[in-house]
């Protein structure tokens, strides 16, 4: 949706606001921040960047693997910090950003503790086990946090576990499913499931209504299914991938054109559509190496891009009016 800022720019471009009135127009419509908004922004910025710096300091310190400090001191330090972060969450109003960031810090530090365990005892465990255990251990905190950033951390950990798992077991599964395909199917299924759950729960839980998180999940699922269908197009295998991709596109259209208007999602659908169609045509057109094939593809890309842009702009305009 267009912001107040963009609307003012529209007016300025058409010469409807005198130059000396532009700053006042921006101020009155809250297109630019007033003192209170600045205070809230700087407050959040300091809190986020300060917390990030402290958590990174612990990560870097543990990664340094300082042998002058005994293993129990190191374990003690990380565990004490986790306890401190959880205590801070317990004593603060849970709705405050500082409380949620404390719990997020505790979640990240749990991973540091697991890494320290692996570093000290050389357990020989696979990397995917570290991330999967990390995700499992922090799940209760994630559930009570009611904090989108923490859920995204958890989902990212599961994604990472899946990718690392298939790096280890590639040879075992390659003969059965095709390891890359199996991984992409799993990533697609997991991220799409998370997206559906997110959108459904956002109707009853206002804290889930932040669009960036849903868009990130849709991007993760969309990239996976697009890679699957590209693989199917290039190797002429797997109708299942093409069917899943088409079904995903249809649901995406219905959901974000009709039920929960979101132009970003529709633009993502157009992008994957262009990539897949162009790959399909290129696969059949460029086989004989004629220069004309490239020209046709260029025209096709321009046509598809222009069509997508016109449609998206029309949808955008329709929603605004």
């Amino acid at each position: 949706m267009a912001t107040e800022r963009e609307r003012i720019i529209d007016f300025v471009e058409q010469g409807l606001i005198a130059k000396e009135n532009i700053r006042e127009a921006l101020r009155i419509t809250n297109a630019t921040p007033k003192a209170a908004a600045w205070h809230a922004f700087v407050d959040r910025l300091l809190l986020w960047v300060g917390s990030l710096a402290l958590v990174c300091a612990v990560v870097f310190f543990v990664a340094y693997n300082w042998h002058d400090i005994g293993r129990f001191t190191r374990f003690g330090a990380v565990e004490a910090l986790i306890a401190l972060a959880v205590a801070a969450y317990c004593f603060m109003d849970h709705r405050r950003l500082a409380a949620r960031l404390s719990l997020l810090a505790a979640g990240v530090l749990t991973g540091v503790l697991l890494a320290l365990y692996g570093q000290v005892y050389q357990t020989g465990a696979d990397t995917w086990e570290l991330f999967f255990s990390w995700a499992l251990l922090i799940l209760p905190w994630v559930v009570i946090s009611r904090f989108p950033a923490m859920w995204i951390l958890w989902i990212a950990l599961v994604n990472l576990s899946i990718i690392l798992y298939f790096q280890v077991f590639r040879s075992l599964l390659a003969g059965v499913l095709g390891a890359d395909d199996a991984m992409l199917w799993l990533l697609f299924a997991f991220n799409t499931l998370c997206l559906v759950a997110w959108e459904l729960l956002a109707r009853v839980q206002p804290w889930l209504s932040q669009r960036w998180a849903a868009r990130l999940l849709a991007t993760a699922g969309g990239v996976s299914v697009t890679l699957l269908v590209l693989d199917a197009v290039l190797h002429r295998t797997g109708f299942a991938a093409a069917a899943a991709w088409l079904a995903w596109l249809a649901v995406l259209y219905l959901a974000y054109r009709r039920l929960r208007p979101d132009l970003f999602m529709l633009a993502g659908g157009c992008l994957t559509g262009i990539v897949v169609v162009v790959t399909f045509v290129a696969r059949h057109l460029l086989g004989d190496g004629h220069a004309g094939g490239f020209l046709l593809l260029a025209v096709l890309v321009i046509g598809l891009g222009a069509g997508a842009a016109v449609w998206l702009k029309n949808v955008h305009r329709a929603w605004q009016t």
Binding site: E4, R7, F11, A53, C56, F60, A298, V301, G307, R317
Partner: protein
Amino acid sequence: MTRASQRTWQALTEVGLVQGDGPALETDSSPWYVKALLAFSGWLAALFLLAFVGAGFVFVVKSGTASLLVGALVIAGAYFILSSPRNEFLQHLGLAVSLAGQALVAWGIFRMLGTGEEVVMWLLLALMQAALAAVMPNFVHRVFSTFLSGLGLAMALVALDVPYLFSGLALFAAAWAWLHEFRYPRHIRTIQAAGYGLVLALVCDKAALLPGIGVVRWTGVQDPDGPWVQPWMGEVLVAAVLLYVVRELFRRHDAPPGLQAAGLLAALVLGGASLEAPGVAVGITIMLLGFAGGNRVLLGLGAAALLFYVSAYYYLLDATLLAKAQTLFIAGIVLLAARWSLRRFVARAGVRSAG
């Protein structure tokens, strides 16, 4: 006029800032991701056009002069396509044709000058892109050209063995553009395109110059003693721009002197932290510019850049992880203490104004 536009127009009319019935038409203000889609399809189509020229007109690619001439003609053609009445297909076509033409011109310059004239080559490319950014009547094209012009200048500075000057120069230009985007109302979109292009070039250049990523190495810094402009000098320039931005923002909001001094001190501390962890001040400055202008895209770009630079700090080879942990710990404590002080200051000011 949309309902939201009507509301905004009404609010402005009530305070007497505008008069009349409002705009007769809506200008083209599609969101950033629609513009990104346009840029992607233009780039992809340009690649196919280049492949078409490469496969069908081999003599053009083999001769530097022919590449240069054909490229220039193609760009001129793109200008006329983009100048035609607004039509989405023609806009896409113009962008793709222009990008293909630019690649041919760049190839021609490279063929004619050879590998010994890197500085001249990059400066020529930067100048060409700057001219296109000024002339081409298309927003996405202008962003793209400013971005490439910035990268061209950055590469010229690398070839001159002074790579770290670019971030300060580009940040200053971007800061000026974003702080004065409404100064020339008729050129507002051009200034914004330049602002986005410069920020994108700056973020990429900063990432490429970070130790461990090492673009500088393959671009050929030949001096065995290393460049005379060291990384910290570039960060000092960036810190100076951060101070300029903070001062300008305080001036606009008529902030009390005490708050101004505290803010400038905080900016100085952040600039100092950036000497240790390169890029932090760049990320923060972009975020400040984004928030000041109510520009969420710029704010997001700054936040993403900041996160990237902090992650890249892990791989910086100049300091041990222990030293980095100490720096981060001190920075974290200082920032959280600053937040605590700010809250107390605002609470006291609130009590005073209520009294």
